[in-house]
Symmetry: C2
Subunit: 107 residues, 2 copies
């Protein structure tokens, strides 16, 4: 619909949960293994893995398994896309308001 | 959790749907009545109103009823909050990568 990439659905869905946002927050401090990522949460490892799968499916997080350890990293390119969509709409509307203000301010 | 405003859940949930994003897109071109907003969609008016309620609940859209017409407007302040959260995390992680690059580039 309206030429929007389909994965915006998945990105915003992933961001709409406080646990997943806290996991993203943790990853801004550097890559983490799944168990490091799970540490601060009072939930089972399978529950954490489920949240991680949503984040990975959205593209906001990349994971790589080396040996027995899966390491998670933020994908800032995807984050930028999620940010950009909002920014574009917000500024388009802001510019219209500015033009209206200019028009009303004219003599 | 982690000092995040609760309404980020509602904002990202509202953004996670292509119809609701198309409605926001429409509102960047100016305020619209509910029926104007419904026009491009092949769905019932109650379905449109339901999407609108999600947008209003998230704070991304404000509505005002004057007489029999309800007018919908974008709320750019809320949009900026949704954008800001992503931006802050993305740039925090970007800065860490820059510092790492500086460190690796040192003689």
């Amino acid at each position: 619909m309206l030429n929007q990439p389909a994965n915006l659905d998945l990105m915003y869905q992933a961001l709409a949960d406080p646990t997943r946002r806290a996991m993203l927050e943790r990853l801004t401090r550097g890559p983490a293994s799944v168990s490091q990522l799970a540490e601060p949460f009072a939930m089972s490892l399978p529950a954490v893995v489920q949240h991680l799968q949503v984040l990975e499916g959205s593209g906001l997080v990349k994971t790589e398994k080396i040996g027995r350890v899966r390491t998670c990293t933020l994908d800032t390119t995807t984050m930028q896309q999620a940010e950009q969509w909002i920014n574009d709409r917000r500024t388009a509307w802001g510019k219209r308001l500015d033009r209206l203000a200019d028009f009303l301010g004219e003599d």
